[in-house]
Symmetry: D2
Subunit: 254 residues, 4 copies
Amino acid sequence: MLPRTPLGRASIVPSPPWHYSGDVLTIEYRTDPANVAALLPAGLDLAPDDPGAVAIIWADWQSCSDSGDELLDPVRSQYKEAFVVVRCTYAGETYSRCVFIWVDKDFALARGWYQGYPKKLGQIWMTRPVGVGKAGPRLQPGGRFGATLAANDRRLAEVTLTLTGESDTGGFVNALPMLHSRYMPSIDPAGAAPLDELVTMRSRDVELGPVYVGEPTVTLFEAPAEELAALEPVEMIAGYWRQVGATFAGGTTA
Amino acid sequence: MLPRTPLGRASIVPSPPWHYSGDVLTIEYRTDPANVAALLPAGLDLAPDDPGAVAIIWADWQSCSDSGDELLDPVRSQYKEAFVVVRCTYAGETYSRCVFIWVDKDFALARGWYQGYPKKLGQIWMTRPVGVGKAGPRLQPGGRFGATLAANDRRLAEVTLTLTGESDTGGFVNALPMLHSRYMPSIDPAGAAPLDELVTMRSRDVELGPVYVGEPTVTLFEAPAEELAALEPVEMIAGYWRQVGATFAGGTTA
Amino acid sequence: MLPRTPLGRASIVPSPPWHYSGDVLTIEYRTDPANVAALLPAGLDLAPDDPGAVAIIWADWQSCSDSGDELLDPVRSQYKEAFVVVRCTYAGETYSRCVFIWVDKDFALARGWYQGYPKKLGQIWMTRPVGVGKAGPRLQPGGRFGATLAANDRRLAEVTLTLTGESDTGGFVNALPMLHSRYMPSIDPAGAAPLDELVTMRSRDVELGPVYVGEPTVTLFEAPAEELAALEPVEMIAGYWRQVGATFAGGTTA
Amino acid sequence: MLPRTPLGRASIVPSPPWHYSGDVLTIEYRTDPANVAALLPAGLDLAPDDPGAVAIIWADWQSCSDSGDELLDPVRSQYKEAFVVVRCTYAGETYSRCVFIWVDKDFALARGWYQGYPKKLGQIWMTRPVGVGKAGPRLQPGGRFGATLAANDRRLAEVTLTLTGESDTGGFVNALPMLHSRYMPSIDPAGAAPLDELVTMRSRDVELGPVYVGEPTVTLFEAPAEELAALEPVEMIAGYWRQVGATFAGGTTA
C-alpha cells in the first residue's frame, strides 16, 4: 500500500500475511431487523434466521507481519478496535459483515480499508482481566468488564459484561466468513467508482482460548457524524470474552 | 467514502467540495536527483530543470464541506499536516507530486487516499506568528519559525525558517497541478491491483495571503518504517510562509 | 519543579517568567449564585454585585520561558485550555478565581498547579478566524465560532459565539487579580495538608488586541468524574474574542 | 486533590487507597555511580553496595480507588508508565528512589506528584505476552519483549528483554521502601519553597506473579528537555517480567 518507496519499508502497513493475538469482548443483541437491512447495500439480504442479531465487539490486539519486527517496537504492533458485525446473505450464502469499526492506529486503519472494513479512528478502552491484585476482574463468575468507544471527543458506546461461567461458543454473529464492500469513489465526483467490489475472507490458523460468557449491557449515544446509535438494542443475547489468535492471508472477490 | 449508511452522515469524510483555509510553511531544497527518481513509478520521469528540487511543507488547516457544519465542531475541521513534494514529467507535461505525507486526523487521511496523497498519521507542529505578546515571532524580518514531524513516537523531521522579507513567489516545487497514483492492492495478495490509476488535480478558488521569505534549515531523521531521510538535503533553496485558501472539487484520471 | 536534575533541563516546566501569546474566546453567563458559592472554600465569599456571573473561556496559546527556545520546538510551546472563572471576595477585596480548567500538555498542567489553577487534562478545540478561503469565520459581524471541551472520552462543554461587532471590554469576570488555593494533601491521608495556601497573582506586560463581541450559547454535559455541569447557565451575558499577550512572573501569598 | 468541589467527584484523582494490578518489565544495569550521585539532593548518599545500579522499568497498569468504579470505565483506570529507580541512603537506611518517570494519564500524574514521583507525560509501549496466535512472545525461554518511551515527539528510551528462564527475584534496585522529595516552589520565584519534604512509603497487600528473567538491552537517547541519557549504561545486570498487584495507602514524612 502507499506510500510506495525504493525499499518498500515506508508503506502504511507491511505486506500480508498479518498475524494477530489479542483479547476479544463480544456482545450480541437484537435490534429491529429494519436497522440491519438499512445498512446492507443492494444485492445483500437479511439473514433468514435471527435477522436483527448484532455483535458489538471490542478487541485489544497485538499484530505483526511475517518478520515479527513490529513486536519489539510495540507502538507499531498494538492497537485497539471496536466494531459492529451483522449477518447478510449473498448468492445463497450467509456471511458476517462489519458495518462500523473504529481503531486507534493508522496501520490498522489501512489494513481495514484493504479488507473492506469501514475503519475510522476512535478511542477504545476495555477492562483487562488480572491475575494478581485488586485492580481488575478475574476470568470467573462475577468478573465485571467495561468497554467504551469515543470518536471526535464524544462517547459513542459503553458496554458492560458480568461473567457467569464458561461457554462452548463465542457467539454466532461474527462467526461466518466476512462479506465486505471495498469502495473508492472516482477522483471526478461525477464519475463511477473505480473500485466497488464485494470481497470475502476468513482467518486461518485460528487459535482460540476458553470462552467466558456473561450478562451484557449496551448503551449507544448519538453523535453528529455517526449512525451507530440507529442500531438500538431491543434485547440482549449474551456476552463473551476470549483470547483469539489468527492469521490473515488474503481473500477473494465475491 | 466508507462507511456507507442510510443518512450518509457517518462517512469518514463528507462529500466534496472541500474548502481549506490555513497557514503554510514551505521549504525548498535540492537533493541528489537520483533520490527523487527512486520515488517515481515507471512512466514518470524527472523534471528537466532542477530535477532534485524538493519542497517539504507544514500546514495548519481548517477545512469543511459545503455545509460548513464542521467549523463549529472544530475537532472535525482542524488538522495539521507535513508533506514532501517533488516534480515529475508525464506525457509531456510537468507536474508536482506528493511522495510522503503525514496528517493528524482520520478525515484528512481519507481525503488523501481519495486524492492519491500517500497519507499516514503523524504528530505535526509549527510555530505560529503572533500579533501581541512575547511568545511568538512576527511576520517580519528576523521572525523565526520551527516545525517538526514525528510518527510512531520518533522525530522524523525538524525545520526552521528565519524571515528576511516579503516575496512575490511562494516557491515552484508545489506550484504545478498534482500527478498522483491511487493504488489499492487486490484482496488476493497474488492478484493484480484493482485500483492503480494516475490522477491529476488542481485547487480552485485559490486565495493567497502575502508571502514571507527567509533562510531555512532542514534536518531529517532515520526511522525503521520510513524512507523520508533518503531525501537528504544538499543545498537549501529558500523558505516561505503564507496563508492559503482553496477549494478541492475533484480531478481527472491522467 | 520536579524532576530536579544536574543541568536543570528536565523540569516539567522551565523556570518563570513565562510569556504567553494567544487567542482567547470568553463567554460570560449567569448561574444561580448558590452554584458559585458551593465552589468557594471557607473564608471566601460571593462577589457583592452579580454574584452568579461565570466566565467560560477557551484559549489557544503559544508560551515560552525567557530563553524562547521552546518556540522553535512548538510541541513544547503550544497548548490549548478551557477554563471556568468566577469572582469572590477575600479580606475586603474582590478577585477572579479559576474553579475548573483543562489543558492538553503536561508543562501547562504543571504551571497550573504551581499557580493554583486546578488543572486536569482534556481535549480542547476552538474555531480559528481566517483571512483567506472559505474554511473559517472572519473577525467581523456574522462570524461564527465554536469551541468544545472533552475529558476521558466524553464531551463536557460546547459553546458558540456569533460576532455582532467590536467592544471596548472583554468581560468583567476574569478581569481581576486571581485568588487561588494551592493545595497538596499530606502523604499520610490522615495528616494535615502541608501545602494549603491562598495565593494571588496578576499578569504583567499585558498586550491586547481588539475585542470582538457577540451572541453566545453554552451547553454543559454531565460526566461521572466532573462537576462542571452544576454551573448551569440561566442567562447569557455576552461573548468575546481577542488576542492576548502577557507575562507571568510570580505572585504573593494572600 | 484539586479541584475541590461540592461532591468531591471532580478531583483529578479519587482519594486513596489506590489499588494496582499490572505487568511490570524491569531492567537493571550499572552506570557510573557519579551519574546516580548527581541526581541525589543534599542529605542523600549513594548506596554502599553497587552504588551505580539503576532499574529502568515499564509498567502497564490497571488501577482504581476503593469503589472500583473506574474499572468499568477503563479510560479512567488504565495507564502505562516508564520510570527509573536508583538507591540512596538517608539517616542510616537504604532506600529506592525514583528519579525519572513518565505516564500517559493525568490521574496517574497527579498521584505521582502526591507521592513525590517526578512525573511527566510520555508515550509508553511494551510488548505483551500472549497465550494464542503468532503475534507475541510466550512467557518462556526465547520470548522477546520490547519497550519504548517517548516524550514531546522524541524517542527517549528503547529496551529489549529475551527470556532465559524463571527467577526467584525480580531485582534489587526497586525493592526497598521509596524515599521521595515532594517539592513545590513558592508562588514568589524568590521565595522559599512552601513544600519541600522527604517522604517514604511502601506498598501493602503486595501480590506477585512468577518472575521471568532474561538478557536485556538498553538504549537511551538525548533530548533537549530531558536528562535521562546521562544515566548511560556501562554494564547490564538482568531483566525481569512479572505481574504485580499492590495497594498504596499512604506514607510518612522522613
